[in-house]
């Protein structure tokens, strides 16, 4: 899979086919309407919640110092609008070998909630194929003004080519979808006030044995 365009610019709802670079990102605004965002948030509030976990050497662990949020299991019907938004964006950023979409997962960050810097793609053989072959990470922010939250910036650490990283705050609003390389270091800064809702998904390589049967994005 090749990811082409230089990152950074914010874009209108998907029409053309911009592609994120290997170390960059692209944002599409208003991929999901505010009404659908509100409905998804309502579904998150009703759905079963469990503390967000992190993956270490093949095992899911609770580590509140690393990640403090809850994950919510939505019904396929409630998750459908976000899943469709992700698929729509995935087709625009992906032009390589067949890939599958893992997600969406729905997260809620309370005051103090955060996800310290991490990369979504693992290089640990103990982790699953889907995690080891993640190519693109997708994040959809579901709220900004109503309900409001303060803090909780999604920060991407872009390599500058000289061995240094440049932190960039992703300028997201409710309904925006950002696509970035799954190799990119990124984090969610602590929420200062309110609740931050988001959905995440990843594009990963179709496993060899499934490549003939899988329905790629």
């Amino acid at each position: 899979m090749t990811l082409l365009l230089p990152g950074a610019p914010s874009r209108a709802p998907p029409r053309a086919a911009p592609r994120a670079p290997a170390d960059g990102y692209v944002i599409w605004h208003a991929v999901l309407s505010r009404d659908l965002c509100a409905r998804t948030i309502a579904a998150i509030e009703l759905a079963e919640a469990q503390p967000g976990r992190v993956l270490r050497h093949g095992a899911q662990q609770h580590d509140a110092a690393m990640r403090a949020c809850t994950e919510h299991a939505l019904t396929p019907g409630d998750a459908l609008p976000v899943a469709q938004a992700f698929r729509c964006v995935a087709r625009l950023v992906h032009n390589g070998a067949p890939a599958l979409l893992d997600g969406p997962r729905f997260c809620r960050y309370r005051q103090g909630g955060h996800f310290r810097a991490h990369r979504d793609r693992s290089h640990d053989n103990a982790d699953s194929h889907a995690v080891r072959t993640r190519r693109v990470s997708l994040v959809c922010l579901l709220n900004d003004g109503t309900p409001a939250f303060d803090g909780g910036a999604l920060v991407l650490y872009l390599p500058d080519g000289g061995g240094r990283f440049r932190p960039v705050n992703a300028p997201l609003s409710a309904g925006s979808v950002i696509a970035f390389s799954a190799e990119l270091l990124h984090e969610v800064r602590p929420v200062r006030q309110g609740l931050r809702y988001s959905a995440v998904a990843w594009l990963y390589d179709v496993p060899q044995e499934e490549s003939n049967d899988a329905e790629p994005v």
Binding site: A65, M66, R116, A117, H118, A148, D150, G151, A153, V155, Y157, F165, P167, V168, N169, L185, E187, R189, P190, R192, Q193
Partner: protein, 254 residues
């Protein structure tokens, strides 16, 4: 409208702590060294934090990875209050890192966080030691709800008067009582509020600059080092004294 510091401010973590000098000792040295003020860790903040209960609001920049260990946090600014008699807090104006000197949004956010913590501890009044000869800072403080109180101290040959105000009033006068921290950090305020906030915080910064430079006689603000409740009493208890003599009869001329 974004300002010079908006993006970096948005990534800051704002916290409160009870003992700045011990909880953030290496970060304090690292922040103060470029300002040529590292000696103040030992001369000011360590004794201040050891002398009585204090509360500090701190702004931290955290490195992405690893999140712990030496160098994991960088202090970008802080302000401190000495708690006195359970009802007043004597402030030491904010200090910002060398590259943050005009970061008014950060200064305002630190003030808000500090006052918010004081309110949680039911400390309603804040005070600043102001040089008795000050016109600049005295008028600045009067404009933001402060008034000179009864408490006075003499240090380094100068008399300092405690200017006191309800913390809530100060935030209202600064027009930031209802502002979100994110808006303060980004200075997403109307122009008049930005001017007010900037005037207050840069005024305090200028007012205490002589103290930081070691010129105490010229400082308009003395740091909140002196706990007035621990000062010596004013004299000793007296007695009613001897009874008054009978009123002398008037003397009439013959």
């Amino acid at each position: 409208m974004l300002n010079l510091y908006s993006d970096a401010n948005e990534r800051l973590d704002l916290k409160v702590c009870r003992n700045l000098a011990s909880e953030f000792r290496p970060e304090l040295f690292a922040m103060l060294r470029p300002l040529h003020l590292a000696h103040l860790v030992e001369e000011l903040w360590a004794p201040l934090c050891a002398a009585g209960p204090t509360v500090s609001a701190v702004a931290l920049e955290e490195r992405p990875w690893p999140p712990t260990g030496v160098g994991a946090r960088r202090l970008r600014g802080f302000c401190t209050a000495l708690l006195v008699d359970g009802r007043q807090a004597i402030l030491t104006p904010h200090l910002l890192a060398a590259d943050q000197q005009s970061n008014v949004g950060l200064a305002a956010a630190l003030t808000t966080v500090l006052f918010g913590q004081l309110a949680q501890q039911e400390v309603r009044e804040v005070g600043l030691w102001v040089n008795g000869s000050s016109s600049f800072v005295a008028s600045l403080l009067r404009r933001h709800g402060f008034a000179p109180g009864e408490m006075r101290v003499v240090s380094d040959g100068c008399e300092f008067v405690l200017f006191v105000a309800p913390a809530e009033t100060v935030l209202k006068e600064l027009r930031i009582a209802e502002a979100r921290l994110g808006d303060l950090l980004a200075l997403s305020l109307d122009a008049a509020a930005i001017a007010t906030v900037a005037g207050y915080h840069l005024g305090l910064q200028a007012g205490i600059a002589a103290y930081w430079a070691g010129q105490v006689a010229q400082t308009e603000i003395y740091p909140g080092l002196i706990d007035w409740a621990a000062l010596p009493p004013s004299g000793i208890g007296g007695t009613p004294g001897p009874g008054l003599p009978d009123i002398e009869q008037p003397i009439f001329g013959s």
